[in-house]
Symmetry: C2
Subunit: 136 residues, 2 copies
């Protein structure tokens, strides 16, 4: 079965070898096997697992929370409910983040317009008729 070295995996996933070793140290990669002299041999499925780890990370989940999930995976079917609940919670969290980003975007776009107008007028004064500077 084909395996990959730590630097190959790092390149594939756009991470550093330091980060991968750090993940391992934190208990995120208990499934990665070693050859007799200790070198890590990443299987295709390990890379898939790392993609899930990256996905969870991108939801803002801390390393410790991801470790809990990895531990549940090792524990087998007894933890299916916990894992389901965890993903449902992630889903709700990401939905909330999307809502937040939309609000942020509305403010940013307003500012883009504000500065476009100011830039065309050559001065911010154009907005200061009855309101205040940075707040528009």
């Amino acid at each position: 079965m084909k395996t990959y070295s730590i630097s190959e995996v790092a390149k594939k996933l756009n991470l550093t070898v330091y980060t991968l070793r750090y993940y391992d140290k934190e208990g995120l990669l208990p499934f990665v096997e070693r050859n007799p002299n200790g070198t890590r041999l990443f299987k295709e499925s390990d890379i898939d697992a790392l993609k899930i780890i990256e996905c969870l990370k991108s939801t803002g989940m801390p390393i410790k929370g991801i470790k809990t999930f990895i531990d549940w995976c090792s524990d087998g079917d007894d933890t299916l409910q916990q894992r389901y609940d965890m993903f449902m919670e992630r889903k709700a969290d990401v939905e909330a983040q999307m809502e937040e980003l939309k609000k942020t975007m509305a403010v940013i776009e307003h500012k883009c317009l504000y500065y476009k107008t100011a830039l065309e007028a050559g001065t911010e004064e154009i907005h200061k008729s009855n309101k205040i500077s940075m707040t528009q």
Copy 2:
């Protein structure tokens, strides 16, 4: 003109007084005035500025980047172009974040379904017929 104490502002914006003092220390609040004995007096417009700061923060902008913007604001019309460019960049960044979140969401939803099915079957084996464990 009505002003607010640091703890009132903290409450209003759901920040701590520590955070507000930290922002000030980092140069994010040069516009906040003081009374003769040194106590900060926040104006309504200062609170609006803080909202913009929070908005920039929620785009993932670091404190130092926000400080640069605040400095530009103090510099006046000469920096309108920079400020416009900065908000356009923030806009592009937030758009990219939204795309990323969508991809993340797709994976998370897939996992929700995966675990829903496994849970109903009472075992993860249901998914292992021709594929591998955590990767589905």
